[in-house]
């Protein structure tokens, strides 16, 4: 059944036990992303160490896809430089841009669990919500 393809084990696991989720106190910058279609809201906080994202955390409410994508995002970018994180944001956008062929690969193997969601355009925003908030947070860093 198609359900099995969208709700991959890794995705479900991240939605049940999201990583780096909770308070954002002490973050250098916090940005909010919201999906007016479903009312989901995610806040992403960056904890910087010089040019590097020492850690990235999030909080908010959303569907399993939104929570899993946020969780995977924090793992994917923590420890990276600002420009690496920016590149990843752009690659995520490209990966989920409708019409872009199957030749676009996942930005990182660790994000492969989101591949199945590409077949569901209505869920695109659920995936990208936290990535857009991250992108905005990166842009607003001094």
């Amino acid at each position: 059944m198609a359900t099995d393809t969208l709700y991959k084990d890794i995705l479900l696991e991240h939605s049940r036990h999201p990583r780096n989720k909770g308070e954002l106190e002490g973050a250098d910058v916090v940005c909010r992303g919201s999906n007016p279609r479903c009312g989901d809201e995610v806040e992403v906080g960056l904890f910087m160490q010089g040019e590097r994202l020492q850690s990235v955390r999030f909080r908010g409410r959303g569907c399993s896809v939104c929570m899993a994508s946020s969780s995977l995002m924090t793992e994917a970018v923590s420890g990276r430089s600002r420009s690496e994180a920016r590149d990843l944001c752009q690659q995520m956008q490209a990966w989920f841009t409708p019409g872009d062929g199957a030749d676009v690969a996942e930005p990182l193997p660790a994000l492969g669990a989101l591949e199945a969601v590409r077949g569901y355009p209505a869920r695109r925003r659920c995936v990208l919500l936290s990535w857009e908030a991250l992108s905005e947070a990166l842009a607003s860093l001094p």
């Binding site: 359900t3 696991e13 049940r16 479903c38 009312g39 809201e41 896809v65």
Partner: protein, 419 residues
């Protein structure tokens, strides 16, 4: 919870075969059977409606109210016949009281900009309800802001019903208009429109009724309701998309300014000035949507043939059965809680599972549900929710659709509760 009465069971039997009238539901193009429970968003179309649209283009299509040749005269005759049928369906005293619009949304905006804008002054009040759709909120927000008028809200009781008796000042001298839905598109609750109209009439306050969710499910009669305006759409009542209607009392129509200016709505035009044609033409600038009007009339004829009382009985019985079953699902919260009577709309949440995930899993099992705020953000804010799951019933739904819904909910629970 009430058990289905004998008459309801009878109605259900008489309607049972009607899904065969809907090609999309029966001419299975899908690999699995479709359990269509998103009827509050839009309904499927019976063959009679599809045929009426097709017949128009094949047999009598021409310009309306403009041509002098026989084909155009026939087109005009059919268009006015459609108006007459639809006006009759909602109990309008005269066909001219029914204006064709694109949608309920356009009909409400027509009243907001065409009527309210010239009737509102600073200090006036316009009332809406907590459960109104954005389409019956945003136009009032804007015209009130422009006029310096105050937009006031009838709140809900704990059980979700309209607490209109507690709305202080609802019928006082500041109130210029009350705009409310007859049936909530989220809660399914039926509002006491007739009682509100009676009270409003005593003080000469006009009432606009958003009937988008009621016309397909219960007999709606503007004379019995006593409303000044009634807005509805064809596509939620088995008719075509892209056409709706506004009923208005003659005195309101006389007070209303046209929203769109152009061909077909004028009496005399010079380069300096123009005067308007009589209503309904005054409010229908541009070429008429003949084929959809024909489809709209065919939908009305189809509903009349099934009988609105029977339709109401069938949908109510199904809704009650669904409520009984849903109330027994662990972790499932009904909105409003079980026991509150409602039309064919059920909203719910499930502990620990986001509405989007439930709708997705259901969708993949052939059950079409809606998840989200349903264009009612102020209502969901008051409930402390971002989204709900909504199942909404129609004439072609059966027990099998309820079973499929329950089984989809069960699948969602198993998926998210394991591990």
């Amino acid at each position: 919870m009430l058990a289905a009465s004998g008459s309801e069971r009878h109605a259900a039997e008489r309607l049972a075969g009607c899904s065969a009238d809907f090609p999309l539901l029966t001419d299975a193009q899908q690999e699995q059977s479709l359990h269509y429970l998103d009827n509050a968003a839009t309904t499927q179309k019976p063959r009679a409606v599809i045929a009426a649209i097709s017949e128009c283009y094949q047999e009598y299509y021409a310009t309306v109210h403009r041509g002098l040749y026989p084909l155009a005269e026939e087109a005009t005759r059919r268009y006015e016949q459609a108006r007459q049928q639809i006006a009759g369906f909602v109990g309008a005293a005269a066909p001219s009281q029914l204006i064709f619009t694109r949608s309920t949304t356009e009909a409400i905006n027509m009243v907001a900009y065409g009527w309210a804008r010239t009737h509102l002054s600073a200090g006036d009040h316009v009332w809406v309800t907590r459960m109104d759709h954005h389409a019956n909120l945003l136009p009032w927000q804007r015209v009130c802001r422009e006029a310096g008028a105050r937009l006031r809200v009838i709140e809900l009781r704990e059980d979700g019903t309209l607490d209109w008796q507690a709305a202080e000042g609802l019928f006082d001298r500041h109130t210029r208009l009350i705009a409310l839905c007859q049936v909530s598109n989220v809660l399914g609750i039926v509002n006491p429109v007739q009682e509100i109209c009676e009270q409003a009439a005593l003080r000469g306050i006009p009432v606009l009724v958003d009937a988008a969710q009621s016309v397909a499910h219960m007999p709606v009669d503007v004379e019995a309701l006593g409303c000044d305006f009634l807005a509805f759409s064809a596509h939620k009542m088995y008719g075509p998309s892209g056409i709706g209607a506004l009923f208005a009392r003659p005195e309101r129509l006389a007070e209303m300014e046209p929203l769109l200016l152009g061909g077909g709505m004028v009496d005399r035009v010079t380069l300096d000035d123009s005067s308007w044609a009589d209503y309904p033409s005054r409010f229908e600038a541009g070429s008429a949507n003949l084929a959809d009007a024909a489809g709209f009339a065919a939908a009305v004829a189809y509903l009349n043939q099934l009988g609105m009382d029977r339709i109401h009985g069938h949908v109510s019985a199904l809704t009650r059965r669904a409520l009984d079953s849903l109330a027994a699902v662990p972790g499932l919260q009904l909105l409003p809680q079980a026991g509150v009577d409602r039309s064919g709309i059920i909203s719910f949440t499930l502990d620990g599972i986001h509405p989007h995930d439930i709708a997705q899993i259901a969708g993949e099992r052939g059950v079409a549900l809606r998840a989200g705020h349903h264009c009612c953000q102020p209502l969901l804010q008051s409930l402390g929710l971002a989204a709900t799951v909504r199942a909404s019933f129609a004439i072609y739904n059966t027990e099998a659709d309820i079973d499929a819904l329950l089984s989809a909910i069960d699948a969602a629970r198993r998926l998210f509760e394991s591990g």
